[in-house]
Symmetry: C2
Subunit: 220 residues, 2 copies
């Protein structure tokens, strides 16, 4: 049973909103995420329910099924592989890839994805640090935490961003934060939650709590 482009986009949104299928999702939340109206979402949920990729009980949100999770992860895999291609091979900036990948992820060709994966040397993470599921939908997730959750004097390495909007990514470029950077928390300001971070043992960075909440790191 195949999904349309619209259905794939909805399913991906539901997967993300449900945090990997662990919680149920409301019609209104899906509408907000998809920038569409709740009435349109109700229609689509009925269709996705018919196709068994979600479990839909009227008036009580939806839960993604195992089959649905598998489908969503396939689309996510394609999205992230294309992002790697755009950045590594075509010199796109990491803030320029999302929209294009949003289209490319719907190209139907298992051979294409298999070959692309090999060509990119089986990458494990996309340009934003998000893990790329393998062809069976398995994700080798690293334990990550937001900078804002780290304590003063703790060290680590930036591995991903929570917000992949162009605006945020451009800001990170400007201040010199990037995935792979080694960091150390120098100070946390009680008053406004802002932080002072040492990057690569040489550069000091001040950031608001909003920024610190959207940078993910592993501790070391």
């Amino acid at each position: 049973m195949t999904l349309t482009t619209a259905e794939e986009n909805y399913l991906k949104a539901i997967y993300h909103l449900s945090e990997g299928g662990t919680k149920s999702v409301s019609t209104n939340d899906v509408a907000a995420e998809m920038k569409t109206k709740p009435a349109s979402v109700s229609d689509m949920l009925r269709k996705l329910g018919d196709k068994q990729v979600i479990e839909y009980r009227k008036y009580y949100g939806v839960n993604i099924t195992e089959e649905g999770k598998k489908r969503a992860l396939q689309t996510i895999r394609k999205h992230r592989l294309w992002e790697v291609f755009l950045v590594d091979k075509l010199q796109f900036a990491w803030d320029e890839v999302h929209e294009v990948a949003e289209e490319l992820e719907h190209i139907q060709s298992p051979l294409l994805i298999q070959r692309l994966d090999a060509y990119l040397n089986y990458p494990k993470f996309d340009p934003h640090g998000d893990p790329i599921p393998d062809e069976y939908g398995d994700v080798r997730a690293r334990p990550r935490l937001a900078l804002i959750e780290m304590e003063v004097d703790q060290s680590g390495q930036i591995v991903a961003v929570k917000d992949s909007s162009a605006a945020f990514l451009k800001y990170l470029d400007k201040v010199g934060a990037y995935i792979g950077a080694r960091i150390k928390i120098l100070d946390k300001v009680e008053f406004d939650g802002s932080m002072e971070i040492l990057v690569d043992q040489k550069k000091t960075l001040f950031m608001s709590k909003d920024v610190a909440a959207n940078i993910l790191a592993i501790q070391s």
Copy 2:
């Protein structure tokens, strides 16, 4: 003014059927090419006429406009660049690329195509020997003729195929004909139009007139 995927496909079909905009095209011909019904074509022709990419007079075929030609050539450019990518970078066989390129050609991103073109080193021909229009829609076409039009003892080089179906391309692979091969006409059989060809000064190939009509060469 933007075209939908369906409109782009129709326009491309009309461009090809009109032999680059030189002749007008009938509703039935478009229907056959698009594997759809004449009634559906009538509808679409009205839409394309409204968008000024064709000139549509009811009951008398259509002619593609200058604007339409430019649009069609952009789509053709994208199709052929993707085919080069699939063959050169992802190791697709030349008979495996068409369907995928038929989807990829509709991805909307001028930057993507510009970067892809550079990445592929500005190729001038696709894997089937068809010329790739530049970003302004200019095509540097080589004068080509079908093997069947060549005379005994004439020499040349295979530069393209007229039929790009998987079946035909697989057949060419099997018998060892390929784009770039140097050839010489050894014999033409009056009775059935079949031919005997010398490939690369060493291999002799017998082919039916149907095959010979679908291989294009430049004379030398």
